[in-house]
Amino acid sequence: MAKDQLMDYQKALESYEVVIGLEVHVELNTNTKMFCGCANVFGDEPNTNVCPNCLGFPGAMPAVNGKAIENSIKIGLALDCEIAATGRFARKNYFYPDLAKNFQTSQYDEPIAFNGKIDIEVPSGKVFTVEIERAHMEEDAGKLTHVGGSTGRIQGAEFSLVDFNRAGVPLVEIVTKPIYGSGDEAPELAAAYVRSIREIVKNLGVSDARMERGNVRCDANVSIRPKGQEKLGTRTETKNVNSLRSIERAVKYEIQRQAHLLSQGTAIIQETRHWHEDRGATSSGRPKSDADDYRYFPEPDLVPVQPSKEWIEQLRATLPEKPAIRRKRLQDLWGFSDLEFRDVVNSDLLDEIDDTVKAGAKPQAARKWWTGELARIANSEDKDIAELSITPTQVAQIAELVESGKLTDRLAREVLTGVLAGEGDPAEIVAKRGLEVVSDDGALLAAIDKVLAEQPDVLEKIREGKLQAAGAVIGAVMKAMAGSADAARVRELVIQRATEL
């Protein structure tokens, strides 16, 4: 496959205006699927959470999950949307092996929520108001595995296998209106927007919001037009962007790719593209053709959804804080500087730090551990921080051990590695490895006395004021204590003892 040519990013932004549109699919964490009572769980044996409905068997009929409706309304309210007086389900007709009925039960011209907005802050501090076109309910498709090709992807596969456990899982699709004027911050805005959506649905408790699990998926639409031109450029839709980092990179890539093409006088093809994280590039999918004629019509097997005003207000009252408000509150509470706080948000660690503080850690300590050591480890293992096997409570426990002097910083990092390796809770690891800092002066003094007795000349030097000599004693004591002594305390005690003896 030929490599795309890219225009330099800054150069592209000089000549072209960027318009982006984001479609985010949120997987709801209800107990059951959208249209049947099968369990909504991840990871079970294939085709064991299925029934005639989600398998599309002849004669099957859908039955709407009331909790999913409630969750969808909450998402709409959190995005300042209007909630439809009448929402209707519609069939979106197309054929695909992972689509059991060969139509998706979705919503078309009567979505549950529409006309909302959300303020998004980008790293530079600028705030954009992103307008929400609609949020609607739909069901997920099954999972396809392609077998026989070299990459496990469709191309070159011999055959495919379908697991319908995921088919029918409730999704809420949130669609923005076209976003203008983001300039060279379009990539950051896209990522920040999705980050906020994640935060919202996580705090609403309606989704686990883990992008790496596919709980939140993003399709990014990008088009560019020469500066001053009114007519919108042709847009491409990039799918398979599985992380916030990918979103940023994919949007940037598309801007550069399209800019180069336009500058050469080549037209942009309206198509779906796929993002390849390993290559850092998008590739062409199938051009949109008859797949566009979905022949939507109202789902005859389901009746309209007409939420009462009372119910909507009841749900509105249960909404948690908006992200912007929550962030301000937390920043004030923790006393972080703007830079520090932004760093936390951009690293997606707001929830982790919040949970860690709630578990008892001091805010700065929590920040230090998450944005410092844990981020470093995640990076070195090429993982997302969220994938590390450590909980905020455990981090709080480590911070507490350091705070109380029971652990030195260095030992705390050892404990951290132990937790990540699955050795257990911090306290268990400390006990198992005998890492607790000896804070008992008595034991220290005994060790110090022993060393001083063995090195009378060093003792002499210290008494004479040559404090550097203490280094040898400290070293020997630390060795004797197998590192479980606080070096600073040992130094204090050595000097003090030397004068006493």
């Binding site: 599309g56 068997f57 002849p58 004669g59 007709n93 092996p97 060969n102 004629d293 022949r295 019509f297």
Partner: protein, 499 residues
């Protein structure tokens, strides 16, 4: 009278008084099926073992003194578009040949819970698309009244079975007349209840906003008892009515039509109707008037668009409902010539598995929904529906029930309407409005047309949820007619000669 000629309610009474056993009855029924079915082709599958086992169980329970439901032990036939665990369910199509569902339709669960032994699955036009069973992939069923004619469709298997004593009663489905039209051409009773009265869960869908399941029987009381047995709210069907419609059995005990206002639908009378049909129809009305009913004339002008609207809505919904037959999860799989991609396999399978009428309607339905045409076709048809409902509502302000001949003609000959698809569609002119509007309708036999000595049916319509009115007037009319004839309708049927 032979056991096999008795009505279901009579058989129920005999079972209740232990005059006969269910095993005896079921066996007699199965024997008759074995004798007649090879010729008439009412049944696609006969479930001998299952039926006898179910009969044995109910006899045991009865012997123990268990309280059983009214129809317990009465064997029944089930249209082959209703799913039955462990029993092949084909919907009359090749694409489902050999398919054994892992779940029961709700109505099947209900008749099993009522302990009615299931005799087998009856023939139908493929996916219920048709008015004669000539579109069945398994051959047409024959009309017991004249074996050169069709027993109507799509439920011709059920109607021919009930009319030829191969089953005392049956469950069918009605999307545009598939219960009522076969009833009218076989001298039996067929009812399409109010949309939502009976759960559609497990009914292989044709037109989801039109389909309804109902009884196919020899008399009005049997239909009432069967509707009572299968009706009711079902949480698996979101369109099923939340409330009960009351007891049809009680309604069928009605013995008076004094003061009943019967509206004749102007648009469903006159030239388009076979003379002999109109004659018998009129005589039936005269009987009712003589008994104290009042005739008023009503007009439903939008009915002129009913067939057009129906043949847009039903194919559109069907095109979507039938998309699931794609070789992936069940049913036929046909490999294409050349390299196989899943798309090619789907297309080859559907080409091989669907008959021409089904393909035609899928293509038509796809067209009606396609971008650029939706408003003119499907969209407009859904608006015609609104007009039809409005016309009926107005008519029901003047009358308690509406009436017309069920169909323009008596049973037609095999092959007669195969050339012109439109000709077949015109059969449904009187039955379609009820499906579009969701109102209940009953066809009951009112005699034989003098031209051909073949059964004529009259159709009553009632407002939505007022199914009981159908049973009230139907019961009285039936009694009046039987008194006049000194016979039952099916007693007129010629003796079946099958070798």
């Amino acid at each position: 009278m032979s056991l096999l000629n008795k009505s279901a309610s009579e058989l129920a009474a005999m079972l209740g008084s232990k005059e006969i056993s269910s095993v005896e009855l079921t066996k007699a029924q199965l024997d008759n099926i074995d004798k007649l079915n090879p010729k008439i082709n009412s049944y696609l599958t006969v479930t001998h073992e299952l039926a006898l086992e179910q009969a044995r169980q109910v006899d045991e329970l009865r012997a123990k003194g268990e309280k059983l439901s009214a129809l317990a032990g009465v064997p029944i036939a089930v249209k082959d578009n209703l799913t039955t665990i462990g029993v092949e369910t084909t919907a009359g199509s090749n694409i489902l040949k050999g398919w054994v569902p892992p779940y029961n339709a709700t109505v099947v669960e209900k008749i099993l819970s009522h302990r009615m032994p299931i005799l087998g699955k009856t023939n139908l036009d493929e996916f219920a698309m048709g008015s004669s069973t000539e579109n069945s992939a398994y051959g047409p069923s024959l009309n017991p009244w004249d074996l050169t004619r069709t027993p109507g469709g799509s439920g011709g298997g059920s109607s021919s079975a009930v009319a030829s004593m191969q089953a005392p009663l049956a469950i069918g489905s009605d999307t545009g007349g598939s219960i009522r039209f076969p009833a009218s051409v076989t001298g039996t009773v067929g009812v399409k209840p109010t949309y939502g009265a009976v759960s559609r869960y497990g009914l292989i869908a044709l037109g989801s906003s039109l389909d309804q399941i109902g009884p196919v029987t020899r008399n009005v009381m049997d239909a009432a008892m069967l509707q009572d047995a299968i009706a009711g709210h079902d949480e698996m069907d979101a369109t099923s009515l939340p409330e009960s419609l009351g007891s049809m059995t009680e309604a069928a005990k009605n013995d008076s039509v004094k003061g009943l206002k019967i509206g004749i639908i102007k648009e469903l009378t006159g030239e388009g109707f076979q003379a002999g049909v109109s004659e018998r129809f009129q005589e039936a009305l005269d009987l009712l008037v003589a008994s104290g009913a009042e005739i008023v004339e009503v007009s439903c002008p939008s009915f002129q668009y009913a067939i057009a609207a129906y043949y847009l809505i039903q194919p559109a919904e069907a095109s979507s409902n039938l998309a699931r037959f794609d070789s992936v999860r069940f049913g036929l799989r046909v490999m294409p010539e050349g390299p196989a991609t899943v798309e090619k396999v789907m297309a080859a399978t559907r080409e091989a598995g669907f008959g021409p009428e089904v393909k035609r309607r899928i293509i038509l339905g796809t067209y009606a929904l396609s971008s650029g045409y939706y408003d003119a076709y499907y969209g407009s048809a859904q608006k015609v529906r609104t007009l039809i409902q409005a016309d009926l509502a107005k008519a029901f302000e003047k009358a308690d029930v509406l009436v017309s001949p069920t169909a323009p003609t008596t049973a037609f000959k095999l092959g007669e309407k195969q050339e012109d698809p439109l000709a077949m569609y015109l059969n449904d002119i009187a039955t379609i409005p009820a499906n579009l509007a969701g109102v209940p309708g009953m066809s009951l036999p009112v005699g034989l047309a003098k031209e051909d000595n073949l059964p004529v049916g009259a159709q009553f319509l009632a407002p939505a949820r007022q199914d009981a009115r159908l049973y009230k007037v139907g019961a009285v009319l039936e009694k009046l007619l039987e008194e006049k004839w000194s016979k039952r309708m099916l007693d007129f049927a010629p003796e079946l000669k099958v070798n």
